[in-house]
Each structure stands twice: as C-alpha cells, then as structure tokens.
Homo-oligomer: 202 residues x 2
Amino acid sequence: MTQTRETLSFKPGEVILYPGVPGPRDRVYRVLEGLVRLEAVDEEGNALTLRLVRPGGYFGEEALSGTERTYFAEAVTEVAVEALPKEPRPEELLDLVAHLAQALSESYRRIERLATQRLKNRMAAALLELAETPLAREEEEGLVLRATHDELAAAVGSVRETVTKVIGELVREGYIRSGYGKILLKDVKGLKELAQSRGEGR
Amino acid sequence: MTQTRETLSFKPGEVILYPGVPGPRDRVYRVLEGLVRLEAVDEEGNALTLRLVRPGGYFGEEALSGTERTYFAEAVTEVAVEALPKEPRPEELLDLVAHLAQALSESYRRIERLATQRLKNRMAAALLELAETPLAREEEEGLVLRATHDELAAAVGSVRETVTKVIGELVREGYIRSGYGKILLKDVKGLKELAQSRGEGR
C-alpha cells in the first residue's frame, strides 16, 4: 500500500455511498479497518443486507462497470477506507477480481439459503457470519455479538417481528442467549449444524 | 480478440464446469456464443439458477480467487467459449472486473426478489430475464420462450409443482400463453409491472 493514498474515515451509522448511477468522481473503495454493510432499503424502510465488507474487501465497484448502484454502503463500526486510483495497477486489479469473485460466491450462497432454507436455519447462518466481523467479541462467557433485531432482520431478509420469534426459539433451544442488543453464541457447533441444514419444508 | 486463442464448443445440456476447488489448470471463461447457466443442485436434485451468462460475459472466476465452486456451469444452447490466459492483460482484467460488478449487481437484485417478492412477481421477472437470452425468439404471434417448468422452477428458486400453479395463474390472467415447453409472452408491459411490484404480503 502506498502511503500517499488518501484515507477516508467514517463513524458508525454514516452513509459512505448512496444508491444511484455512478458519476465520473466515483471510486472503488478498499476497506482498511472496520465493517461496511451494503444494504437495500425499500419504500417502507425495511433494510436488506446484501453484503458485509471486511478489511481487505472492496465496494463501490460500479464505478468501474457503470452499473446503477441499488444499495447504501454504511459504516457499521468506525471505518477507514482508501480509494482505488482511476487506473489501478494490474496487481490491484487482480486483487479486486479475486475479491469480487469471492463476493459473488457469497451471494450465490445467500441466494441458495433464501430459496431453500427455513428462517431459523438462515438465522443460524447469519449469526455465524456476523460472528466473523468486528461486531463480535470474545468475552468471559463466550462469543458475544452486538446486533439489534432490526439488524438481524436485514441480515436474513425478514422483518423484526418474525425475527424476534425465531430468536426466542433459538434461546429456548439453548443455541444462544439474548438481551440488550447483545447475543451470546452458546452453542456454535449446534448453530453450524443448523446453518448447514435446510429445516423442515421448503 | 486474438485469433490464436483456443475456442471450446459445447452442446446443449453439456456440463462445462463442475463444483469443487479450482485446480491449477482451471481458467476463467468468456462466452463467445450461446447461453451458459450456473446452477446449484441439492441432494434431492432440485436445481437453482444462480446466474445466466450471455455472450461477452465471464464465468469460472474462482480460478483467480481460489474460492470453491459450488455450482455447475452448463451449456443451455450451443455454446462457444474462450479461456482467459493465466495472466490476463490489464484491459482484459478491467473488462472482467466490469462484468463481475454487473454480475454482483444482478445477484443483489435476485437476493432482494427472493427476500421480498411473491413467487408470481418473481416469475414475471424470471420470464423477462429469460426473454433477453438466446432461449427467446420473436415469432409471428410474439416473443416466444423455450423453457420447461423445471427450468422455470430453477430460475425462481421453487419446485415444479408450485411453478405449474403460478404459470396457470399467469395464463388465466392473460400475461402469457403456455404449452409444449414454450411460453408466449402476450403482455410484456404487464409482466414488467408485475416484476416491479412486491405482490401481496411479504
């Protein structure tokens, strides 16, 4: 990484990119620190998480394709990003290609989950995905996740009321403990099994 | 395009790539002619279309990222592809980046549809997407699509029985005509409206 590149910083909740057709000043961004969430928001304000971008990952790739951006890119934690130059070097392009291929692959898995898994199983997968972001912290009692039910609804493509019910089930069945915007992952192995199975019905 | 590059040809139904971790001989492919379908298949044999790749598009990008491939790439029509060299030129990489960004953007839309739209509305969107592939042909009576109910089920992430019901509804409501693996898009404008709305409930 070149030291002369500009680094931009954002606070939790700040919007980094808005939906729209990318203009000539738009850039592709690389996350240096923190967590960025790409999310679509419908007319009623329901959010749907499309992708989480961790350090080393990129977003805003529409600047290179000209495709209309349909999502908000939002800082979930304190975030630092750097802008890629208009004409990236070949090794930067290769790194970007690898990241986009990985992102596509994650999208495919999300499509599969939405098409075939029950909400409870998708929720287990979402909790495990979030557990690998800066939102999770190893505490005395175990792995603790900071996430509201609204955020979990966006992660699984559902609404808060339904999510609250499913979280209640997972608590009763001993997979997690929940309270005050925090979720303790009590049984990671069990969650992994849930995340890998389809659940009853289709 | 350089004339010395190797072109590979496939017949309808032939598998071009199998699921698995890409090996050192794996390449990224660019579609020159025809239609390639990327699809996941579960243990019960249910297929789910993840992406359609048209001429000018790429697939097999895991060769550059090392990500495990979870799908089959299958020739839907007669297909011709060329393999990208191990070390693509910068302009080829830029073209690949633009295509992957576009593919990601299409995935996001698919995720949104699965999370928020009713099956009938998703079906309208799938029919319109297929109408822009070599599976569609302008005939005397209008735009005709060659697609079985199994293929439509894979396109919307459902199963054949349910799809047959929804196709029946669309026929009764005058949007399409259906028979012998062919679908006539009678009311493209109406289908577009359906594809853009959510449908009742969530």
